[in-house]
Symmetry: C2
Subunit: 478 residues, 2 copies
């Protein structure tokens, strides 16, 4: 058996505005409707030896992650929740220590990023089977991706010319890791036949990786041991969640597993495979990984294209017309629009930096915000009013709350609501509405078995999210 | 005295998506917030001899036009309402016949398009004063625009080398009109010094233009005489409106004044002037007429521009980020987005043609729809709900109506409403709401002196605009 771990970390700033900090790249739908997170889970399900799944992510993404996991994995998934992102070395040390407690030191770990695309799932499965055998012989196994082109944005792995003498499986000792070579060097690497792209996937025994941490990063390991000891284990939404303490994270080094361990260890092997891998690292990579039409265009949404070639247009909600353009990236979202030349796809992160500098929320939030009880979407804001579409999951309950400065008007458009309005509790059916004056304690529940969909219209002089007094909350927010 | 007439006709399809059939080019705000219609009215106000204004437009645009006129002209404006657009010859014949009844055959007419920009209002005023004198000597006066570049999309006017021998004013007999020459010919025209652009502006006496219609287009004139005899004169919203009958329009030829009269008449003179004219005929012309930044960009809205040059970005409601692009036109509206290369700005009309072919409403309507009582904007439509922002003018009253399939929830966010709901009539104050069940007769009024702003949430199985039974209407729609 092998224990899969999904590292669900970064914000994917080069995929703004579809990917944001609060709704990052793994959860962004691709042209086929699936997300990279969905695809990662499907890939794991294909593995014959896969044991229970663990996801390591930021605590702010717990409900989004739980929603994505729900119903998709047979065995109960486990979430390791980081108060702040501390790079891959800390995440993997925490994962190994957590698994050691549950399954012992001989347990095998498979580390997978949440946001990579692998077209050839069969080749991936075969590589994992080889890696299991090699890892059982106390090697740290990295997966080497057969390079398709002299990319300058990736890390490369150089291996020995001859394979390791192993009891089972074919792998090579890693000679060195190289970060982002220039194009000429990259081409020389490809020509040599001894280099792979570093795909950021790993397989090893708990004992092997912990021994290497002990040798090469003892302080980080010690900090992670403290964090695991202090961690708070809870069971929410049918999942085990491990909450680490922010204080314990402050002491941890922000360092990658490559830099902390892989580049220093003598026990690193590479299993090379050609698996149709893409890191979907930019909109150009996204376009390359999506089906295109005869003019080389990738269209997701309603597009009227006149004299348009080699463009990516992603617009799920609105009509887009393109006239006489080529090599453009157009990404439309309810609150922000990106238009970039494909040659400048890497510079999209500069937009996110500029948004941060301007204090703009568009790098952070989408209009749809995930909450433990469901979602809300701000449909429109204007002078003295704000409108939300609120979707409450069956059985879920919002906090008992009060606003000083706004009245709220609730209209049920689907399902049934149980409403607390001052001292009254009543049911509100589809097409019915109620009115919560400012200063009234109120609560919304979905007592039914289908999603409750409501339109909330707020009106008043001040409509900030911070005008809220929570008297009671099922999710520990009061 | 001179009677100004504004021809407010075409849809401006090359300015889609900001200009649409139901909200055409004259009413589209420019970067300075004013519309071309506003600017045309301001231009007329500068004329010392200007008499009462008449606007000739489509009957579907009467309330939009009335709103634009309200408060902007001292004297009572008059609207000639065409059931269908029949080009400039019919519009001018109708205008002349209508004025003949009111002011006699010696009255002077000034014909101005609603959708041109004139930067030098002083030069325009001077040209009009010259034209008045020439027109009083029984000439049909056209205004010739001093050409700035060898444009191939405009009409050109060739004049005699020597001016006419007139009692007063300097003008030239027109030798011929030329439509859209090639670039070489256009350059030769400019070099000759005897050609002007045809700006589509005219000045003549009622008797002169009617005599020329009698000579060159007697059938069209006869049809227009019948239409004027059958026309329905009403007084609405403080304005005289003349409604022509659709039947009478069927017989009229769809022909321009240039083709029907100007190119055939012996009595055409040109007053040439350099007045900073632009027809704002495309987004490129729009950009050229707008202030730009150091990189040649025209930005209207919040834009994050990285490595962006010579672009027009118009996005009043959403953030736009541009990365590594140049010579692009980006026009964002709530329901449609245009991205075009400046060299292909003329082809934007092909988008409108394609929308028509697809039966798409985006060529027709904006999300904000003008009604006699005010406006409504569809904010969001979804399964089983539709939301509108409704703005009702002071004193205005919507029809008494009923819907079979939807309930309506009304929330007042500004002002005060008088609501009829079944057999009850009551006042609804800011931040209050009411609920109109399906099948209930209801009516909305604004009894106050400030605009009433309401959010309406419709919910039900069917939400089409045609589910309406009108029992009584102040605007003749029941």
């Amino acid at each position: 058996m092998i224990y899969p771990f999904i590292l669900s970390g970064g914000a994917g700033t080069r995929l703004w505005p579809a990917s944001r900090k609060a709704f990052p790249k793994p959860f962004m739908p691709l042209v086929d409707g699936q997300t990279l997170f969905d695809k990662t889970i499907e890939r794991i399900k294909q593995l014959p030896s896969a044991g229970p799944l663990t996801v390591i992510t930021n605590e702010s993404l717990r409900f989004l992650t739980a929603d994505a996991l729900r119903g998709s994995v047979a065995k109960q998934p486990r979430l390791l929740l980081e108060p702040t992102g501390k790079n891959t070395a800390a995440a993997i040390a925490l994962a190994a220590l957590d698994l050691q407690i549950r399954a012992g030191s001989d347990a095998l770990m498979l580390i997978l990023p949440a946001d990579h695309l692998i077209a050839e799932v069969g080749a991936f499965s075969e590589a994992v089977q080889v890696a299991e055998n090699v890892a059982n012989q106390d090697w740290l196994v990295t997966f080497g991706i057969t390079p398709q082109s002299p990319e300058t944005g990736f890390g490369y792995i150089e291996r020995d010319a001859q394979p390791l003498a192993l009891e089972e499986g074919v792998a090579y000792r890693v000679r060195k890791f190289v970060e982002k070579p220039d194009r000429e060097t990259a081409q020389a690497y490809i020509d040599s036949g001894r280099y792979s792209w570093n795909g950021g996937m790993f397989c090893f025994k708990v004992s092997t990786i912990l021994a290497e941490f002990e040798r090469h990063a003892p302080e980080l390991l010690a900090a992670c041991q403290v964090a695991v000891e202090h961690a708070n284990q809870i069971h929410v939404a049918g999942m085990d969640m491990v909450e680490f303490k922010a204080d314990d994270f402050e002491r941890m080094a922000d360092i990658s597993i490559d830099y902390a361990i892989m580049e220093r260890s003598e026990r690193v092997a590479v299993v090379a495979a050609d698996m149709g891998w893409s890191d979907i690292g930019s909109w150009t990579a996204f376009a390359d990984a999506s089906p295109s039409n005869a003019e080389g265009n990738v269209f997701d949404g309603e597009v009227i294209a006149i004299n348009t070639n080699n463009c990516l247009v992603r617009s799920p909600h609105r009509l887009v017309a393109t006239v006489g353009v080529e090599n453009l990236i157009v990404v439309d979202t309810p609150d922000a629009l990106l238009i970039a030349h494909k040659d400048h796809a890497q510079d999209v992160r500069d937009v996110v930096a500029e948004l941060k500098a301007r204090g703009h929320e568009s790098h952070l939030l989408h209009q749809t915000v995930h909450r433990p009880w469901g979602t809300y979407t701000v449909l429109e804001e204007g002078e003295r009013f704000k409108m939300k579409r609120i979707e409450v999951k069956p059985g879920a309950t919002l906090s008992l709350q009060m606003h000083h400065h706004r009245s709220e008007h609730w209209i049920v458009v689907n399902g049934m609501a149980r409403v607390t309005n001052g001292d009254k509790v009543f049911l509100l059916n589809t097409n019915e509405s109620t009115f919560i004056p400012a200063g009234h304690m109120h609560r919304l529940e979905n007592p039914g078995v289908i999603n409750l969909v409501m339109i909330e219209v707020q009106s008043g002089d001040y409509l900030g999210e911070d005008d809220i007094v929570r008297a009671q909350d099922n999710y520990g927010r009061s």
